[in-house]
Assembly symmetry: D2
Homo-oligomer: 402 residues x 4
């Protein structure tokens, strides 16, 4: 286990950090104001930042190989943590979910035409995309429950279904989606499903409504409930062939989960910083809050727990690099549950330190809490990941005996 950053990793981190301090932090207020003023058009400041980031070569760093920065997961981790300090900033570097996952899928499974038509503009940051997997009617934590149908009809596939938590659907630039559905309900469990590209302007594709997260609309990104009614797309839009949907989904989830966790560490770190600043400057009962020893315990636990989670993220990333996502299954599940749980406690303590300012929009804390809370549910609830971890543990001792 060598978590030492490579020289290349250090260099990237340094560059990204400098860029964020120089360009992102100063633009934060303006960006929020523009989004607030009109969430339906792309904020001009975001486009300006993207241009600068691209110029600086800080672009698509998440993507392995020559198309991105060629970073390992371990090298990318500290970059994701930096972006996690301001979750909106990932888009500046074209590193935001779910576009990252969609790009990975097209990169690995798309054919030349699909890559030309969709991957290219995504990589260029010209369009945004969504991933339509979760369905409101079923426990989607069990991917085999998916009910959306994808039926071949001549040169087309006809898609019918209802999806929700389709992130990015409010984005002014959203142009395409990747939809998961069943091409053959009678096939073996893990061969029933396929993934298919559906442009958002296809007839029958309808955003039914936008969902809130606690009271936030998470503009400009947004999460939608989408109805697909006899949506016809050419057969060329199918990715990698019928029946490979589950395989593709598995492939995307490993790095995706890790990226979320990396960002969560950054969010927790920033919350701790805000909390400490508050404790050192706010006075009650003739002492700063920092001098009330209950806060020593909370600050110390925050620091300790952040450290432990960061190390576990690094280990999971390192294992993905060294032995592949499949062999890092337990570690990925561990960090998927541990990081949000840790961060929620840190953020909640920070909220308490700020009092009224903590629950309002005067600090980023309440919105962070809401966002991180969804991560105990998204991509499978904690309970399902814990089940995975436990069963791997049981397997070491012979497994469940029936």
């Amino acid at each position: 286990m060598d978590f030492a950053p490579s020289e290349r990793g250090l260099m990237w981190r340094e560059r990204l950090s400098r860029f964020i301090e120089a360009h992102v932090v100063p633009a934060e207020a303006e960006y929020r104001a523009q989004v607030h003023a009109n969430p339906k058009v792309q904020a001009p400041v975001m486009e300006a930042l993207k241009a600068k980031a691209k110029d600086a070569g800080l672009w698509n760093m998440f993507l392995p190989g020559e198309h991105g920065a060629g970073l390992t997961n371990l090298e990318y981790a500290p970059l994701a943590e930096l972006m996690g300090r301001r979750l909106w900033s990932a888009e500046v570097f074209n590193c935001n979910a779910p576009d990252t996952g969609n790009m990975e899928v097209l990169h690995m499974y798309g054919d030349a035409a699909q890559q030309e038509r969709w991957l290219k503009p995504l990589m260029a940051g010209e369009i945004r995309s969504a991933f339509l997997m979760t369905e409101p009617e079923v426990a989607s934590s069990d991917a085999t429950n998916i009910q959306t149908s994808i039926v071949r009809d001549g040169d087309h596939y006809v898609v019918n279904g209802r999806k929700w938590w389709s992130t990015n659907m409010a984005h002014p630039n959203v142009a395409m989606t990747i939809v998961m559905g069943k091409t053959d309900p009678d096939a073996a469990t893990h061969q029933q499903q396929s993934q298919i590209i559906v442009p958002v302007d296809t007839p029958g594709f309808r955003v039914e409504r936008m969902l809130s997260v606690f009271g936030y609309d998470e503009a400009p990104i947004g999460h939608a409930e989408v109805v697909l009614e006899n949506v016809r797309v050419p057969v060329e839009n199918l990715i990698a062939g019928e029946g490979r949907g589950f395989e593709i989904a598995q492939g995307r989830l490993g790095p995706g989960r890790i990226h979320h966790c990396m960002r969560v560490i950054g969010a927790a770190e920033r919350s701790l910083e805000l909390m400490v600043e508050r404790l050192l400057t706010r006075t009650a009962f003739r002492k700063t809050l920092a001098e009330h020893s209950v806060w020593e315990q909370r600050v110390a636990e925050a620091r300790t727990n952040i450290e432990m989670c960061r190390l576990l993220v690094l280990k999971a990333a390192w294992m993905m690099d060294e032995v592949g996502a499949k062999n890092a299954k337990s570690e990925i599940a561990q960090i998927k549950t541990a990081a949000p749980k840790m961060a929620l406690q840190v953020i909640d303590d920070a909220i308490q330190a700020f009092g009224g300012a903590g629950v309002s929009g005067d600090t980023p804390l309440a919105e962070l809490y809401a966002t991180v809370r969804t991560l105990r549910i998204a991509d499978g609830p904690d309970e399902v990941h814990n089940r995975t971890i436990a069963r791997l543990e049981y397997a070491k001792h012979g497994g469940l005996r029936r």
Copy 2:
């Protein structure tokens, strides 16, 4: 400790419960739609419900003595719990904070003219009011920190200050506020402050902005940041005399805290019901969620903790009735911290049971979480109440020794 409901108490509970089932529950969707459509005018369905409640005699039940239902705190508790199942419904019965506290203050400390001018329309539900105490610049948990000034100038007082978390300020019917401020910064600590009536249309009184709670605006009620700049009100608006502000504030907080806790029990109870319904009907891995034993533990803890908190609320209410708020200081502080903490856990577990629906607007859970989270801060953060409890405990053994 006799927590048995009196016959009168049982009768009121039965009447209120029937009214809610018959009128409030069916109107919920319409009420939300009207508020959503135009939060700036009072929802017509609310006025209709208020008229019905008044007709049914289910009105001002919070107020002791002949002006209300003449109920004890112990008798009122189960009524508040019923209203807590839908927090918006308290207004139907003219039993919503902070109007209730303001009415109590005017009832106990207001003179005849103040009662005629303000208490009467409040009691009739014709106007709404706010209580302006907390200030953004200082730790208001220590009431002596208040910086707003109230300076006599001939026949007027001139008020200058900045307040926030002024609940009700977005309400279409809001007409007056009670403002806490210092009339004599040089007096003894607890004689420095006064409370004064300030109508919202007084020149210099300005709503600077509305505050969000985890993204919610809590329409139609709202929480405001208010600036008072050379606001002049006649000396007749002062309540009870200069220097009595702290005394009045203490008096209002006892019942107010208890009312909040009672409603929180109702909110937790409803969350548990929603969670159980979900667990019994949602299937994952070929079993209902209810059959996964981890949920047995959570449901059982929810039931157990709700029961314990309810008993503690009843005890605190009973003590306030029997020995007065002052002698129930520890019990009031205990339930002030215990009820929200308990409810947050129940609601959070319910959110987890619902998955995506839990964090969105499809269940009342996320908004409930946000509202209840503020109760660990409002009217003094947990840490300050725990300090009170601990010091009373220390006092039993001789107190802190310096």
Copy 3:
């Protein structure tokens, strides 16, 4: 719910409290010394205290009706709490488990001869007894798992089996046991078992070894593993008839669990007192521990949680009095899990306040912790009681649906 102590209840409490202060507290050190010096003989000071208690009429208070003090469960609760402050003191008043449960069983189900032979000396405090139910080989939380066999052979029953956690078996005065076993493994599930009296000097009855609890032997009481090998007892020793074992067991568990919980409240209350005394007198970093605010939070939570648990015990006791143990099933399960959990936290915090003295024999805390920890396992583990509570909750909404 009227938890107000009756005049009679108050009087008993007052009398018991005075007796404990006058006689039990001063004798504690001597009692411990005598037990330590020779755990195999009854401590003379215990016999002296018992004589005094009997003289004072403070005897068998647990037993309802004319044979005891005729107290309700609600009236008995505060008495059990007082005894819980020093767990060893229950024997002084002939109110210690498992003798209390055995006396109840013989009182309710024993015939005249059994009562004359065994109940009388138990009531007189002349002998002690054990209850042999739990078995090492099976999850005894499911009572139907019991494997011990009771086979009729002419005028005798022959008992074979292995039991453990047979409390009291080290007591110098132990004379008899009540054994649970199967008389008919082919009967309906709840008619398979019976209870039978087995004197400890019956041939084939053998104490295999004594069990420790976190290193404590819990002298002079002790918990044994007992082997019964072809143990023959006359048919007259069977209690109430074949097949009624499960029914009798259920009957004994309700009050027994409540008694344990009542005592646990007393133990927690005493631990809090010890903690507070320590915090007020121990100095670190130039302040008493009490002045370090982290302890304010812990003391306040201890007080709050003790209050809530006490109220829940009272409610469960009141319900047993009013509607019977069967209808108080959820409440009994609730307090069975809540009280030990609460007490363990209070005791653990007290240990932390005492440092090295807390884990050693210099305070009663470590032994208390060990004893209370067993209560999360004894008479069914938390998980099983939570299952009961949850299923009653599910039943309110139609129950599990298959």
Copy 4:
């Protein structure tokens, strides 16, 4: 951060693991039996194991440089974890506390005569030693509170004081102690103290009593309360010179704390293994416990938390190697609090899985719990370490402002 085991590290781990499986595990029962039969003589099987370990070169591995195995802290960590699976086994390899700390002190600060007289037999495993620091009268977490006096009198020092938690004092081979005390109460705070060698047979040196940990005597090691009454030792016994006691104490605590934590990880790992074995084989309600999903959550959290703590131990060890204990102050404090807290939860869950067997001597769990619980107190309570961590955090933001 390179936590990858070096080739040398891997080789040592492999050798130690093979030795433990071949010799230690098979001897466990015999060792316990011999200690139980006569705790006052060294168990012959221990001496036999020591001889084998020495032969195998698995000896004094804790000691850096040529005298030990020359391992880094990072390399030693996995070895300590292996020994932590059976805490008694550390003595087999001459790697048990507090002898390890004493040897380090003599190694670094002892002069040639002291090393010849005491270090040599300690390194050979011929004698055992104790470290007398903590005092019953004062909060020893603040080392400046120490009251024991060391007064020069001609060619001797006269030591007076009372110490407790002097580990090893029951060991049949204990021969010497290192005592911390004040040589100059008027010197600057951190120059007041010295450390001096006191053989246990010096007149005036008296073991007043042995302390229990929960109910365990922790034989054969034992923790004593020791009285030193006019104990005279030659001036040559002073270590490193007057006034250097605090410096020496600081030096010994870094590695010592880390070693404890490493062993705790091993103890937690073994507890998890025992728990999983139990869950897979115990049946309740017609399913193995492992199939009840509440256990999935607990097993998964145990695995996750062990992983995170292990990584934090490795990081702290690595930092001690790379930048020294002083610069790893926060990390050492973090793991000092995190590891026992984590392990206590794992052990407690394992106890619950075992039921009655868990609290008794039938599993190692209850004794492990007791031992690990002391680690939240020994070498400074959690609260003091958290204070350290928090203040380092505050310092990053300018520190406490007065």
